[in-house]
Amino acid sequence: MQYALIIYAEPGHVEALSDAEREAARAEFLALADDARIIDDVELQPAETATCVRVAGGRTLMTDGPFADTKEVLGGFALVEAANLDEAILAARIASARIGGTVEVRPVVQH
């Protein structure tokens, strides 16, 4: 099965790490990307760079930043191949430990 790992990061978490910790996190991230089970992963620029677009009544409305004023913001996502939910959760654990946030795990619709 394919799962999306939707990563909600705590802003500033990575910046607060020591150099050694950041290096370890980066190495772990690179190793994760090399893992054959990771189909694709994407790291996003900080939430301040976000623009929200919505079409209403034929007009294109744009606002700055993510909608909700929440502690955790969407930081990136990964698409993984896993035999079952528990396997996908193991991958999510690594990602969560790395970015100090919450990782939402969702099965992908197979067409």
Partner: protein, 373 residues
């Protein structure tokens, strides 16, 4: 039987249908042909074969050519050990934390306890329709998200075992307030888990805790009034069950168990002793507070300290707690202040408790206390 079928078919609904079909065939055939030598294995085999037939039919209808590469099973393949292992996997599936807690509880009672949907609905005071929806949502999530039918690997096992224990204890506590006998059902589940995971001390600890508490159930109420431990009529206790619970606790301790359920079972065991060793109870509450970080556990430790003869130390513990909205915080303070000779302080504390009391027996108890001051 259901556990095996769910494991084999990977689908709750198909497993339930197949089981029902097998029972229907048995009801038709057994009166004429006699009951087979191993009725359990016969039912499992029949259900499995029926399920395979049905899947093949459905696949043919859908125009797909893949047939299940599964040979027809014979009765001899299934002995009890196979079915036992399947049950453990089913427990972990039903109690998967990816399911909502109420769904975990309902599914566990349905699939492992074998309770009917209507019975579970009655136990939780919801309509049968609501319970049916709750169960089908949980089953749908298992299917859609790929929740495995497996005992989790070493990485996840400690957390997942905690979730299983929590579900069983929740079922036990639902039954504690005296509706459908969920408490007995929880003890049955606890016994199954302890037998399937014989080396897990916390599984034995939980079973021991439930057994010792359950042994006192007949003494706990006098009419509608709750009877405190020290006032309970001990002749109403089930002493054989207390002894059996203590034996289970011994096993947990011998396995090196020091977890929250083992400690709670040890406290329950001490509290059923002829003379209660209060300093030891206080020490165990201290350990439990260290494990859970719960202020309510600290409150219990204070009570044990007072019973051990040190109400001043107990009041010191109580006054550090942030439990202002909790009735028993104020009633405990009231009792401690009374013992320490501060009548005014005691009255004020009991009045705060009375203001928070909602049930009639509680109000009656606190009013009586106030009058005695």
């Amino acid at each position: 039987m259901l556990a095996f079928l769910v494991g084999f078919l990977g689908d709750f609904d198909k497993a339930e249908d197949a089981a029902q079909e097998a029972f229907a065939i048995a009801a038709e055939r057994w009166p004429a042909s006699g009951v087979p030598a191993n009725p359990g294995a016969w039912l499992v085999t029949t259900a499995r074969n029926r399920a395979i037939d049905r899947i093949r039919r459905e696949r043919t209808l859908a125009g797909k050519i893949h047939l299940l590469p599964v040979p027809e099973a014979t009765v001899d393949e299934f002995d009890d050990t196979v079915i036992k292992d399947e049950r453990l996997e089913l427990i972990f599936t039903c109690c998967h934390p990816a399911l909502p807690l109420e769904g975990q509880v309902a599914l566990t009672l349905r699939a492992l306890g074998g309770l009917e949907t209507a019975e579970i609905a009655r136990a939780f005071l919801v309509s049968e329709e609501t319970m049916k929806r709750r169960l089908s949502r949980a089953k749908a999530k298992i299917k859609a998200t790929g929740i495995p039918f497996a005992v989790p690997g070493a990485h996840l096992l400690p957390d997942r075992l905690d979730a299983v224990l929590a579900v069983i204890y929740l079922i036990y506590n639902e039954g504690y307030s005296g509706r459908v006998d969920l408490a007995a059902e929880a003890i049955r589940l606890g016994r199954v888990l302890a037998a399937l995971m014989p080396d897990e001390p916390e599984a034995h600890g939980l079973l021991a805790l439930m057994m010792i508490h359950h042994a006192r159930r007949r003494a706990r109420f006098c009419g509608e009034d709750l009877v405190l431990l020290e006032d309970q009529d001990r002749s109403l206790w089930d002493h054989a069950q207390i002894a059996a619970g203590r034996a289970v606790l011994d096993r947990a301790v011998a396995l090196g168990g020091r977890g929250a359920y083992v400690v709670q079972a040890a406290i329950a065991s001490l509290q059923t002793a002829e003379r209660i060793d209060w300093p030891q109870v206080a020490e165990l509450y201290r350990r439990l507070a260290g494990l859970t970080g719960s202020p309510v556990v600290e409150l219990n430790r204070a009570v044990a300290l007072a019973q051990a003869g040190d109400p001043a130390a107990a009041l010191g513990v109580v006054d550090r707690l942030d439990l202002d909205g909790y009735l028993y915080f104020h009633s405990t303070r009231g009792e401690l202040l009374r013992r320490l000779g501060s009548g005014d302080g005691a009255r004020a504390a009991y009045r705060r408790a009375l203001a928070l009391a909602t049930s009639t027996p509680e109000r009656r108890f606190l009013t009586r206390r106030l009058d005695q001051l």
